[in-house]
Structure formats: C-alpha cells, structure tokens
C-alpha cells in the first residue's frame, strides 16, 4: 500500500480539487502466507498482498457518503472520493455520523514486537511434522483433513481532515489441526485444535498437536445420548461463542435499531447470575491481535459489560455514543452505516467450589467443548439457540463422547441459570474464559 503520509497528502489535495471539506479514511494492508499439507506433502500454499481503504465524505448538508476501494493509488483514491461524494446525496440526514471526538486522543501504548516472516519451506516443514504428530498419536486417526499454518503482517491506519492520523502494524501467526478417524464398523470422528501468536516462532505447535490428537481420540468411543434436560458445562470456547452470538445484548447500534435483546433502559438491570462478570478488553495482555484504535480512530479500552450479573455498559461507536449520551468505546468499524462489534472478551474466573462442580467426579453432566453452526442455529433477535455440539457425557467423571446431538435454550435463561464459574480461565483466540456450569439445558440426541 502507498505510504500512509502519502495517502494523507494525496487525499488532502484531491479533496481540495473536488471541494470536499470533510472526509476521513480508514485503510489496511495485509501481507499473508498460508500453507496446507496432505499426507506429508504441501497441498496448497497461498500468498496475498492486498490493500483497501474506505473513505467517508460529508457534503455541505452534513450528509455522509462512503466508498471502499482496493485501488489505493492516487487514481483510485480520487475515484473513491468522487463516488463517496456522489453517494453523500443519499446519506442520512438525521443522526449522521461525525468524527469521533476521541480520534486525536491518546491511545494506549503497546510494546509490540513484530515477528519476522518465516520462509515458506519452514512453514511447510512445521505443518508436515504437526500432521505427522497427530497421525502418530493413534492408529485410528487416518487423516488430518483440515490443517493450516499462516502468518500475517497487517498495517492499518485512520486519518481525517481534522488532522487525526493513527497507524499501527501487527504480525500474527496461527496453526490449526483437525484429525479424523476411521474404524471398521464405527462412524468417523473428528476434532481439532488451534493456536494463535504473534509469529511462527512463538506458536506452540506441539501443544496444538497434542490437543488435536487427545480430542480426536477422546471421541473414538462414542455413544448416543438420550434426549432430555442435562446440567451443562460450557468450555471457554463454547461459552465465548454464545456471548459473541448474542452480542446485540450489549451493542448500542443494535439497541438503537430495535434489534437487540436489551433496551436503552437495560443498563443497571440484572441479566445474569451474580457470579458472572464479563469485560471487553481489546488491550488484554493475552490478546495477540490487540489493536489500540478502532475504525473511527477511537482508542480501544477495557470496558465492563456485565459485573456481578448486572448489565453495566454498552459498546459504542461515536454516533451511538452521541445519541445515547455516552462515550465512544473503541468498538466501531466504519462503513456507510457504522457497525459496532465486540473486540476481546474476558470472563472473570469464579471461586473454588465443592465436589458437585468437579469434572473428575461429575455424573450425568454434559461437557460442551465446541458449538457448531452458530450462523444457522442462533436466533439472536429472539434469544434462542439450537446448536449441534462436540462434547462428552460425564459418568462418574468418565468422559463418554456424545455421538451427535444438539443443545437448545434461551441465552437469557442460560445467563441466569449459571451455577458455577470455575476458578481457572483458559486463553482462546477470542477471549479469556473459565468453564461455565449451567443448571439444565435441552439436549437432543440422534436416534
């Protein structure tokens, strides 16, 4: 991508030429390499170098127009500004977005060291060895059909005609492994694991191999589950999936759009068990992808969403904050309509409990490791979900893999029926969370 200072200068000159007085630009460029392997050999290597910018233009009626483009040179920028100006004639007149009042405020300083990119042969070798490791773990594991290792170098910036200019660079690396079994007379089973760090050298590939293998093996001896109500324990990943799927509960834009489980008056109401405290903290030290500003240039921060069961804050853009007399919180992505979304969730650990909440002795409890098909089985506007899952039925502490089943319920009921939050939190790519115990949910097993 063209140098950010150059883009700023070019945009200023083009805006002047087009008589555009007010504009802002958010852009990013991504340099990415990824590898997949199959039976010890590279299957596909992908490399990509792509850039894009999104420009917003305000006309003299204070209506806003937006255009995004992948053409980040001067010609592309001029076309984008022109098109955005044309679109501004159809922009909203009421509650039109404005610059974030915090676009020039100090952002957190993060000591981030970019990782050097690893050469492709190293990526291939790492993944081939990882695939080998999963296959060697058990004779029933016959393939690792879904696998990948990737590294990304991302540069992002925000600037506006009021003089705001921010930029930052990050590197990320990830590896995932998904093993599959085949046994005579038995159904195939599959499970996986993923790791996410700043660079390939920092990835703990061995632990990813171990977890993928252990999980796959743990599903070998599966049984059907009788349909009914069961106490449920959500893994960190599964509970974070639910918190994200129903994020309209704390999303100010959803509330203003009447598409939320909350209303503006919900702040201060009890929405969950008093044992539950949830924060959104983009700057959490465990967040590998930590960014210091959002798409409107607002600094990111730690924000309490639910504290001891009480709804404390909504996540805001500049526009929603203005309309709801609050402060922007660093959760905006710019577009023709600014969207608001969660960053990195932290669920606070609970306290130690008695044996009733010990997985090693639990009986008749379903442990849900991973929820699937959230895009289909969640009705976020109604609060309901009915989702397939990977997990185990615990019988006297012994884990018996559940063959094929769904879990169904109402998200608001889930929050209120939390019976225990374990004292140890687990770090995942989407947040930090302990295992969460819930009183009873409907489980339907395949007959």
């Amino acid at each position: 991508m063209t140098n950010i200072q150059t883009i700023a200068k070019q945009a200023e000159a083009i805006a002047q030429k087009l008589s555009i007085a007010k504009y802002d630009i958010y852009g990013s460029s991504v340099d990415e390499t990824s590898v997949q392997v199959d039976k010890g050999k590279p299957k596909q290597v992908k490399a990509s170098n792509r850039s894009s910018v999104i420009v917003r233009v305000w006309n003299d009626q204070n209506q806003i127009g937006v255009t995004s483009t992948t053409d980040t040179n001067e010609v592309g920028l001029e076309m984008a500004l022109k098109t955005a100006y044309e679109a501004s004639a159809f922009g909203v007149k009421e509650n039109a977005p404005d610059f974030s009042p915090q676009a020039k405020a100090s952002a957190a300083e993060i000591d981030f060291t970019k990782a050097a990119p690893a050469p492709v042969p190293e990526l291939i070798e790492t993944l081939v060895n990882a695939e080998k490791g999963v296959l060697a773990a058990h004779e029933a594991i016959v393939s690792v059909p879904y696998n990948g290792i990737a590294q990304r170098d991302i540069e992002r910036f925000y600037l506006n005609s009021d003089g705001a200019l921010r930029s930052e660079e990050r590197t990320y690396a990830s590896v995932y492994l998904y093993g599959k079994t085949a046994q005579e007379g038995r159904k195939p089973r599959a499970a996986g694991a993923m790791r996410f760090k700043t660079g390939i050298a920092q990835l703990d590939v061995d632990s990813c191999v171990q977890e993928a293998a252990d999980k796959t093996i743990s599903h070998l001896d599966y049984e059907k589950i009788t349909s009914g109500k069961y106490p449920v324990v959500f893994s960190a990943e599964a509970f974070l999936s639910l918190l994200s799927a129903f994020s309209n509960m704390y999303n100010a834009q959803s509330i203003l759009d009447n598409r939320s489980l909350s209303t503006a008056e919900s702040i201060g109401t009890e929405v969950a068990s008093p044992s539950l405290s949830v924060y959104d903290d983009e700057l959490h030290p465990e967040n590998v992808s930590s960014e210091t500003f959002d798409g409107e240039g607002t600094p990111t921060r730690r924000l309490a969403l639910i504290e001891k069961g009480v709804l404390k804050n909504f996540i805001h853009s500049a526009g929603t904050a203005k309309r709801m007399n609050a402060e922007p919180t660093g959760h905006a992505s710019i577009g023709a309509k600014v969207s608001v979304g969660l960053n990195y969730i932290e669920v606070l650990p609970g306290e130690s409990a008695d044996d009733a909440y010990d997985l090693n002795t639990a009986d008749g409890v379903v442990l849900i490791d991973e929820l699937q098909a959230l895009h289909a089985g969640v009705n976020s506007l109604q609060g309901s979900f009915s989702l397939p899952f990977d997990g185990w039925l615990l019988k006297d502490g012994k884990r018996i893999s559940v063959e094929s089943a769904t879990v169904a319920g109402d998200f608001r009921d889930v929050l209120k029926s939390i019976t225990h939050i374990e004292p140890e939190a687990e770090v995942t790519p989407g947040g930090v969370c302990p295992r969460v115990w819930v009183e009873a949910l409907s489980i339907t097993g395949e007959a």
């Binding site: 199959d38 050999k41 590279p42 299957k43 596909q44 290597v45 992908k46 490399a47 170098n49 792509r50 850039s51 937006v66 255009t67 995004s68 992948t70 053409d71 076309m79 984008a80 098109t83 044309e86 679109a87 159809f90 922009g91 909203v92 009421e94 492709v120 059909p145 879904y146 998904y178 599959k180 159904k187 195939p188 599959a190 349909s227 759009d257 598409r259 577009g335 023709a336 309509k337 699937q372 098909a373 895009h375 289909a376 089985g377 009705n379 506007l381 109604q382 609060g383 309901s384 009915s386 397939p388 094929s404 089943a405 769904t406 169904a408 409907s442 339907t444 097993g445 395949e446 007959a447």
Partner: protein, 493 residues
C-alpha cells in the same frame, strides 16, 4: 496496445524491458500479450501449469430501515491471482496490482514458493499461444449491464416504497428492513493450456428482514430474491407480494411454541427447502471433499447412495438463477451435471485441481469469491428433480410430523454430519397442519438421510442462496419440490 516484438524467441533478460499498455477499464485483447508472456515465463521456469485470474468488481449495497435509507455503500475492487501447479501441489498468490510488473511479481513469488528457480538470463521464454478471446461479455448485452442498472436514487426510492408496503402488511413490528445489493463482476482467465476467456456477471438480490415483538413473544423472518443478468430486476420487484408473505409468516411465528425435540417424519417445502440436499449431499459430492477423504460418497460412483425416488442435478445454465454463470472461474463453459439418478451416484462436482487429484472430470464448477481465492469445486444451481406425487399425498402420509416451510442456514462437518435451522415450521397431525413451531434444528448423517427421502412432489421451485466454503462465498441456487423425509432428528426444547 504496444508490445515489443521480437524476431527471435523472447529471452528472460528481455522481459524487464517489455512495455505493455493493456486497457485499464476493460479486460480485452490488449491483455493477451502480457499474459502470454507471463504464462510462458511460468512454464519456462518449470511450472506444470499456470493460471491467471483477473477481476474487476463494482458492488453497491443499499439498506432501508423503517422509513429511512441508512446505508448506500459502493465498493470498487480490482485484483488478480496467479496459480502455479507443480505435480499435484499448487500455490496461489493474489495482488491488487494489475500492472505487468505487479502480475510478474506475483508470478515470481508463486514460482519461488514452489521452489522453482529462475533459469539463466539467456533462457528462452516461449510465450503461450492463447486461444482467440472467448468473450462471454459480448453476449446478451452484458457489456451494457452495469450502465443499465438502477441509480442510487432509484435504489433508495424502491426500498423505501417496499419498506412502507411491509409496514402496512405486518403487525407488532419492532424493526423492518429492506435491502438490496448489486454485484457487477468482470473476470478474465488465462492459463498455460491456452485458455483465454472473459465473462461479465451481474448478480442482484433484494429482500426483507422483519422483526415482530409482542411482550415476550418475538419472531424474525427474512426473505430474499435473487437474479443474475437482469438490470431491471430491482425495479420489477413485486415487493407487495413479498411483504405479504413475510408479514404472514412473522405473524404466525410470533406466538409459536418451541418444537418438542425428537424424531419425526418431516415434509420439507420446495424452494429454499433444497438447502437439505445442498448441505447433506451437495457439499459431499465436491471433489475437494474427495481430496480430503471427508465424504462418505468416496468410491461410491455408480452405486446406490439414495432412495430410488431421488434424482438430483447441479448446473449453471438455468436462466437468471442465482448460481448461473456462462463460464466458471477457470474459464470452462458450465455444464448440466447429473449427480444422482434414481438413487444411483452418477457424477461428482469437479474443478481443475479436483480432476488432477481425483480423476473426476471437470464439470465447469471451479468457482471462487474473487481474486483472493483459488478456485475450488463448488455447487451452482443444485436441486432435487420433481417426482410424481402431489403435495397432498405427502401430507396425507404423515400421522404426526413436522412441516418445514422455511429453512434457515446449515452446514456439514468433516464426518458427513449435517445440521440446519428451520425458520418457519408447523406441526402435522393426521395429515393436516395444526400449529406453528419455532426453534427447530434438523440434524443427521448424509448417507442416512439420502435414503430416507421417500417421496418427491411435482412442484419444484428454486431459491437463491449464499454458500461459504474453501474458495469463499459464492452465489448458488438451492431447490427441490416438496419432499418427505421418513425420519429425522429434530433438536428443540
């Protein structure tokens, strides 16, 4: 266009001095020379096969919420991807830079990734002799499509009128949305087997999303229509008819009980009900699944894999259907592919890599979201063929079951287990619909369910859909007549 002309074969050392001035606002014959050179370079260095995919996209979306236009979002995209094969391995490099140097840099990166070293500077580079440009863009007035599409002004006016109509038809409205997008795409494919083909695509979709609430009762219903190739699609939209349908469904589901979980016979409506075949079988017939050995239909060609009442197709030819394309994203004309005939597996859905790695011949199914994705075997318009029964006969055969009138999304996992949500369902008792139900999810295993589709009616209908998979999100059609599934697990409360 000016290109250096050489009496002698092109030498590697001469490439940096070449100047090409290909047309910047259209993929045309001026792209032949630079792509011939680059493809030749790739082959000269030792690649078994090289393919360039060039793309320009002009996308716009428009959203009306209640009585205001809240978003008009144009997006301009251009880029290219180069795929390099060596043996059965391949790499894919994408870039936004469509200049000759940009494409050359991407190619060189791909060659280096495949461990193919540049030969000596004096090495000859035999340019690839590309076929005469196979230009699907000049057919059916495609080159005028973009200019003929509705203006921003018209988009806004139609959506506001439509949303007003929805407001008049529905009750207990909490929020109503009308949305539209137009996706214009120009693609050019050039590959070292001589393929040189261009296409222009126009995909549009419009629809409603309605949220109703009455106290603790809530219902949300969405409905989308889709089209390829008709610039007047939006202005011809009968939004009143769609509004009536959406309002009626939302009204019925508002006070619906949650479905009781269990195993039931199920009647699935035509139209978007076809998502069951898409998820439970279609994905598992893609050669990408054979490559990964994640399909239970591996090595089952010619064998019975479904009930004898079931015949299914995948094709890219139906007029203006959402998955219709003249050529796939590897430059191959699309086909009509018989997947299953009377329960017997006839063909798989295959792309170039699929043919190379599995032996199943290409079917014009190499598709991708855009230049950042390598093509993969993907469905187009996929549907169960009509049967001989009437819808009434299907209902009459059910004592107690579920009627799935409107399906939501779904997915299939690596072991062949599928699931999908039901947005609008009804209880069937003694062959009659008795009450609305909500919160149902259907789960099952592909090989099992295909043998339980025992009755197909004669009222096939197609519906637009968005399918996400290895090569990104592509437009597809799902479809079927009403079908009866003898027994399926329904997850609920």
């Amino acid at each position: 266009m000016t290109a250096a002309t050489f009496e002698q074969p092109l030498r590697l050392e001469q490439i940096p001095s070449l100047t090409y001035t290909s047309t910047t606002d259209k993929f045309d014959e001026t792209w032949r020379a630079p792509l011939s050179t680059l493809l030749g370079l790739g082959r000269a260095v030792g690649a078994d096969f090289v393919e360039f995919f060039l793309e320009r996209k002009n996308y716009i979306s428009c959203l009306a919420e209640d009585d205001a236009i809240t978003s008009i979002a144009p997006s301009l995209v251009s880029g290219a991807g180069v795929r390099v094969f060596k043996g059965s391995s391949d790499c894919y490099v994408s870039t936004n830079d469509l200049t000759f140097d940009g494409l050359k840099t991407a190619l060189e990166k791909g060659l280096a990734i495949m461990d193919l070293a540049m030969p000596a500077a004096s090495a000859s580079v035999p340019e690839i002799n590309l076929e005469p440009l196979r230009d699907y863009g000049v057919t059916r007035g495609k080159d005028n499509w973009l200019a003929s599409c509705p203006s921003m002004q018209t988009m806004g006016e139609v959506l506001l009128e439509a949303n007003t109509a929805l407001g008049q038809k529905a009750e207990h409205i909490q929020a109503r949305r009308a949305s539209y997008f137009r996706d214009w795409q120009e693609v050019l494919v050039a590959s070292s087997d001589g393929t040189f083909a261009r296409d222009v695509r126009l995909t549009q979709s419009v629809g409603f999303s309605l949220l109703c609430a009455d106290g603790e009762h809530r219902s949300s219903i969405s409905e989308r229509l889709g089209n390829t190739g008709d610039p007047s699609f939006l202005t011809a939209w009968d939004y009143t008819a769609t509004a009536v349908k959406v309002a009626e469904a939302a009204g019925k589901m508002l006070y619906a009980d949650y479905v009781e979980s269990g195993n039931y016979p199920v009647i699935m409506a035509n139209h978007f009900g076809g998502v069951i075949f898409h998820e439970a079988c279609g994905h598992l017939l893609e050669t990408t699944q054979i490559e990964k050995e994640t399909t239970p239909f591996l090595n089952k060609k010619g064998q019975k894999v479904a009930h004898e009442s079931l015949t299914a197709w995948d094709e890219g030819l139906s007029s203006e259907a959402f998955g219709t394309i003249d050529m796939d994203d590897e430059g191959m004309p699309v086909q009509r592919t018989l997947l299953i005939e009377n329960g017997i597996l006839k063909n798989f859905i295959s792309d170039r890599a699929g043919e190379m790695r599995t032996g199943h011949p290409r079917t014009g199914s190499g598709r991708r979201q855009g230049y950042t994705h390598a093509a993969a075997s993907r469905m187009r318009n996929t549907y169960i063929a009509p049967g001989n029964h009437t819808v009434e006969e299907l209902f009459a055969s059910v004592d107690k079951g579920i009627y799935c009138k409107k399906m939501g999304g779904g997915s299939v996992g690596p072991t062949g287990q599928f699931n999908f949500a039901v947005d609008e369902a009804y209880l069937i008792e003694n062959g009659k619909i008795t009450k609305p139900l909500k919160g149902a999810t259907l789960i099952g295993e592909a090989t099992g369910i295909m043998n339980k589709i025992s009755m197909c009616s004669n009222d096939i209908s197609l519906a637009p859909g968005f399918c996400g998979s290895v090569s990104g999100s592509v437009y597809v059609t799902v479809g079927q007549p009403h079908i009866k599934v003898d027994d399926i697990t329904v997850g609920g409360r």
